[in-house]
Assembly symmetry: D3
Amino acid sequence: MILRIDKLAIDLPAQAENPSPNSASAVQELLGGKFGEMSTLMNYTMQSFNFRGRAKYRPFYDLIANIAAEEFGHIELVSYAINLLLTGTTTRGTDPADTPLESAVDARNHYHFIASGQQALPIDSQGNPWNGTYVFSSGNLKLDLLHNFFLECGARANKIRVYEMVDDPVARHVVGYLLVRGGVHIVAYAKALEALTGVEVGKLLPIPDISNKKFPDAKVHEDRGLHRILYRFSPSDYQQISQIWTGTHPEDGSPLEVVQGPPEGATPPDLEEEPQLTSPLGTDIDPAMFADVAKKLFGAGGAGRGR
Amino acid sequence: MILRIDKLAIDLPAQAENPSPNSASAVQELLGGKFGEMSTLMNYTMQSFNFRGRAKYRPFYDLIANIAAEEFGHIELVSYAINLLLTGTTTRGTDPADTPLESAVDARNHYHFIASGQQALPIDSQGNPWNGTYVFSSGNLKLDLLHNFFLECGARANKIRVYEMVDDPVARHVVGYLLVRGGVHIVAYAKALEALTGVEVGKLLPIPDISNKKFPDAKVHEDRGLHRILYRFSPSDYQQISQIWTGTHPEDGSPLEVVQGPPEGATPPDLEEEPQLTSPLGTDIDPAMFADVAKKLFGAGGAGRGR
Amino acid sequence: MILRIDKLAIDLPAQAENPSPNSASAVQELLGGKFGEMSTLMNYTMQSFNFRGRAKYRPFYDLIANIAAEEFGHIELVSYAINLLLTGTTTRGTDPADTPLESAVDARNHYHFIASGQQALPIDSQGNPWNGTYVFSSGNLKLDLLHNFFLECGARANKIRVYEMVDDPVARHVVGYLLVRGGVHIVAYAKALEALTGVEVGKLLPIPDISNKKFPDAKVHEDRGLHRILYRFSPSDYQQISQIWTGTHPEDGSPLEVVQGPPEGATPPDLEEEPQLTSPLGTDIDPAMFADVAKKLFGAGGAGRGR
Amino acid sequence: MILRIDKLAIDLPAQAENPSPNSASAVQELLGGKFGEMSTLMNYTMQSFNFRGRAKYRPFYDLIANIAAEEFGHIELVSYAINLLLTGTTTRGTDPADTPLESAVDARNHYHFIASGQQALPIDSQGNPWNGTYVFSSGNLKLDLLHNFFLECGARANKIRVYEMVDDPVARHVVGYLLVRGGVHIVAYAKALEALTGVEVGKLLPIPDISNKKFPDAKVHEDRGLHRILYRFSPSDYQQISQIWTGTHPEDGSPLEVVQGPPEGATPPDLEEEPQLTSPLGTDIDPAMFADVAKKLFGAGGAGRGR
Amino acid sequence: MILRIDKLAIDLPAQAENPSPNSASAVQELLGGKFGEMSTLMNYTMQSFNFRGRAKYRPFYDLIANIAAEEFGHIELVSYAINLLLTGTTTRGTDPADTPLESAVDARNHYHFIASGQQALPIDSQGNPWNGTYVFSSGNLKLDLLHNFFLECGARANKIRVYEMVDDPVARHVVGYLLVRGGVHIVAYAKALEALTGVEVGKLLPIPDISNKKFPDAKVHEDRGLHRILYRFSPSDYQQISQIWTGTHPEDGSPLEVVQGPPEGATPPDLEEEPQLTSPLGTDIDPAMFADVAKKLFGAGGAGRGR
Amino acid sequence: MILRIDKLAIDLPAQAENPSPNSASAVQELLGGKFGEMSTLMNYTMQSFNFRGRAKYRPFYDLIANIAAEEFGHIELVSYAINLLLTGTTTRGTDPADTPLESAVDARNHYHFIASGQQALPIDSQGNPWNGTYVFSSGNLKLDLLHNFFLECGARANKIRVYEMVDDPVARHVVGYLLVRGGVHIVAYAKALEALTGVEVGKLLPIPDISNKKFPDAKVHEDRGLHRILYRFSPSDYQQISQIWTGTHPEDGSPLEVVQGPPEGATPPDLEEEPQLTSPLGTDIDPAMFADVAKKLFGAGGAGRGR
């Protein structure tokens, strides 16, 4: 089971600097692509459900289950990045005759404007849906760890390239953070393989052959030491991650550290309505009627009274 | 972000009574099918990320986000049910020449034995992968709620039918529980639509036209009142679910109640290794060598020392 | 536009002799497979919408549009065959605890029992969905005709093989009829190519190299001359099919004939409800209540009064 | 079975005002998207084939079967809209060396120019094929009706958004008409649910929360009362639709009416050939030879002699 | 088995004249589309593996197997064309902060920049993956030959249209060559059908109705007689192709000829590295270290010493 | 380009000992599954086309290109294994009324009997088609090599499990051989990574943790030293593979060796016709007529005269 926290791992503004539907389309690869965050989330989640022999291999189980938990926060962050890049790319308005979505006709991804209300979807940069063939769960521990190490390296390549395509600072802020946290997962799986086999897999890094420190939006987090921290995303479980996340970082030699609990996080931005998409409601809602119903049901304070 | 708890919503034994690969295949529909738990999880998760105008519609946002959190526990439960049904369906052994997986040749789902180590995958009952086209997130609140109401009714139909196909008590225990909890989500979305429109959608229930109380493994939970409880799966957020989850249950008139926090839960069973699948490790692992490496890395206590 | 007639092209009984879910699964290939009736229906339908230069090429346009109309009756027939093969394969009953769908666990196609109420779906024999990549509409008339000729030959191969797999007389009755009518379409496209190019494509027939007359359930229709008749499925349009459907049949030399209007047809069988699937309604429907509502809405005669 | 009529539901010109491949790409969502007209057509068609217990539930069977028939006319209209938007977007010519399709390189959908002759395909706005997983046919009447009600509301959202993206008057003319006719289907399924359960589902409308009357190209049809008319698309069947299509319209209170027979309709436009795509024939066809063959086969009048 | 030769069928320069990601995207249809070279390669390859009764039908077996071998050279050529069109479309550089891939944001195909290093992938012009449903292998010889004849005609239509979209001389050089060689395969399958049935299928040509000689980049090869040559791609097998590839060409009457062995071919161009994509390596590779390793492993000459 | 040799890598009999459609279905995973031979073939083939900077990294280019060539022989072998397992599973005969394919109704894979003539298809064990998303070609050399190393390990896990499912000696003979040759590729990519990075990746082996020598049908080949041999599949190219394939085998320390040229190979078996499937021809072929045509075209010796 999980508990959910209404916070993002990092602070995001309420709007992007350079909204761009095509940039949003590129960032979708990091959500619903073969190497996107849905893939890392679902791979580790399924592997944790499927883990046999936990009594004997507890540190590995704890590691995979715990990283899965962090990945939820990553699909969340990428989705917010996409939503911010899409917000403001059409003309807000309530009169359909004005063709308020006209600018969307030439956008790379029509689903953002037809299927969703200028919002993220579980698809990739070409609009192809994420699918379950992207999940690998062989049951063989060494093979699953090798897969996860490869998956994270592939995901890193994708993040690097999206970073190089997209120039909006908010998007880069998100991708930079994910480069660092994904980098932690790469090292974690390398350490796990090392624990299992004695082979110094970490010496293969970085893959691809460029340091996170070359990316200003990643470097800012590495300067704060985030690349050497593994958060424990649980009130009291998955304690044995510290048996794997130990020693030094293979790239810069800094000491690895387990932090008990999630990052402090930040309140997510509340994005404005898009009336031309009737998102969340449309022009025919009689505010008085909604208020009446709401009052009856939600009491005098009505819906939306505080948190 | 989420915190993960190493507990299942309900207690499960360490083995099924009637392991059956074809029953496992049927239950896969409830995990990776169009109306499976991955669909409910990802629909509500994406809708919560995408929710615009939260200040005005907070109770609806809280409801969707909170139900999403419960769904994680449901993909977990269904996966365990599948794993239990698969465990024990082949001949355990380490000699490949003995054809230890021979019984798997006639099983409906070969992926369980080739791609996974007799374990759950994000696929449906025919082996087709779950995919992102199953997610609906239009941004229009009324339409999304109507979708969710329909999705849960469709999911209920699937659960009913799988219950009627599968006779293993462990599988039925899981499906019965999910019928009750899915039933709560049906009512929750009906209540939300009622809050938004004043139309008594709950009077359409039950859909399909058969009561949960006809299912012994669901009735046992309804007798304990679980069908009238909405858990709040968060340390401190999503408080306004109580503005929607209020009044009485449309089917039996019992009073609705919000419980602060998740169910107590139970420790998940630790399933045995399957050496013929080298899951988690195989026959060539030298225990002494693994112990050496583990000792060096994990300290004297070695891997697996307590939780 | 179309007008729909509540009749089947041929008379079918209300139940199969040898209901069999695996036979039903095989017949699905003829509905939703790459060479199934949905493919022929949608290929010719789209080609007719897309036909440019009709003034010049009217007979070809009329032919394609008219054959498309017949194909609707074929997806209908195949669906009924599947439904008849599925009806009676589980234990009818209203108590879920009795595992009334137990026999379905080992069936090749679980969708028939989970997604549908023991009914046809737009899928093939492996449960893969029909999809739009099966439609070819190049706009080049000669190439489209060549495609259609090939498509019908491929469809014929599939029908032959399903006939040889399935021994239920009702299923064979349907497949035999479709062999004959599909054979008409093969000849029609051969004639069209001949009209366009002068090449005697019909001399390639039969493809595969076995005569319809070897199939008792096809022979019975050929003995009545059905293989030499092209129906005109329209009140008053598509008259110029007679410019292509002329001369003699390339296989047996019989004279070709256009019949104005559809076959006489027969009233479709009304299949029984499946209460264990709550299809169409379930056990909790209070007959009195439904009668009340129905009376109010449908008048004294209630729903179902005559046709 | 069906009869086909060579008429469109509404009159369309022989060319669009603003041909645009990207607008055509957007309109494809209304043909082959999850909520496109192929989905409504195939959902109701399959549900009608699969309907059990017709003697008892005849009005519901008649309604679903009859609406399916209208949907054929809708895939037709959308296809024509796409074809009109594509016609004129490249340079007509017969010399390949001139790169006559150069403008297509930057178009969102290359299939329109490579797979088809600037014509519609059963794909959506991203070029993904329509597929059979979009069909829901559970066999449970209440659930199928709820699905259909939701499907039509989702389809309405898509139409609204495409209307707001595309400014060509011909495309808007089609989408406006479909908004009105789809609106009729929404009300029809709401009425059916009401007949079955007594719950006033129609009071949820409009979904999304904007009236058709805000769309000039829809309003023109509603002003003529088209939103309160259900056509009976059959020579003599499906009479009992009048037991459900009765009373008043839930949005404007106008009286509902069944019209016996289809709309009068209009002759479809005959779009010009595209020689650069050899659609329908190419530059090497010797007109004399084609005339010879045609004369031999079609008689003195030749092909294309009147209708 | 195969032997591989490090040569291309034709000579290609080391860079395109007009690099263009959208042209590359169009050319992808000829690699991974339904009618692309992967389809021809895999269709004939599988048919050759599956060929029953070779003793009786040896010339047909030899023909199919031998054409399959040529198709490998065609997926190779198309891939090089794509790679050349993509090379030079972004700003080469090693600093991610400079957004070196910025120009890729508006490209039709993001996979080229995220999944690959500006290189070909087994996808089509919309980014949809090639898949095995494109392979037809019925086992019936006449039907398989008819399929292959149709497939090649469809492939020809695609090549014609891509030629008309793309103006880069290198791309046209490749497509022109493929038009000629694909034309040989069309005639070969026509001859095979003629051998089997006596029907002069070749008289249907050209399909589509335009001669290769209208395409300057094809005409240049036909002027050299390449359209009348069938290469035997084997050291000593597949000799009986000469029993089918005999007589004259159906379009221009030139004598057909079997050439023993492959075309002479040309050394493939060596495309430059793309450092911004770390393709093949990135900025953190210490050249000294790589040299050290290379020296140790590859000896004094190091990697890359001649061929 | 390639040259094709009409030989299999190993000798196969003309029939399996235990034909079994469900065993054939399992073996399909090794052909068209995510980790099947089509995946290895197409991954290395595309990576070789896409290799940038060959002058600098020639040994790596040669290695990938050369292994790709061997993989063609592996899709061939797996296809023959499938065909042998399918041959003899139905009743041969020419009278469709006898239901000669009756036994196929309960087979796991209907495509083998409907789409093909009891022959292999590019699909996996569930009948899902191989597709291009299984190809990874990032352009980054280290990442591609890591991928290939992982892919081969995953492929090995699949082979191990299919070996353990299928007891036919012919199938095991093929799978055993592929285990050995796939093992060579695992070591080759490990060596390549070592050459590039200095990390002893080979020490991770075996993955999964079981030796090939435990499989009798693999051991027989390892005893002959086949696990230490890399064949050079080219008349004169790819010479620099010897710079990587050098030193000793990481598992048993035996010396690695490059063999110039392919294995000697064996003539492929010629499988009997299946008349019930009209494969390759059917019952209506007039042998006299075919002989006439053949004589005319193929000369006095007729088709099939020697090789």
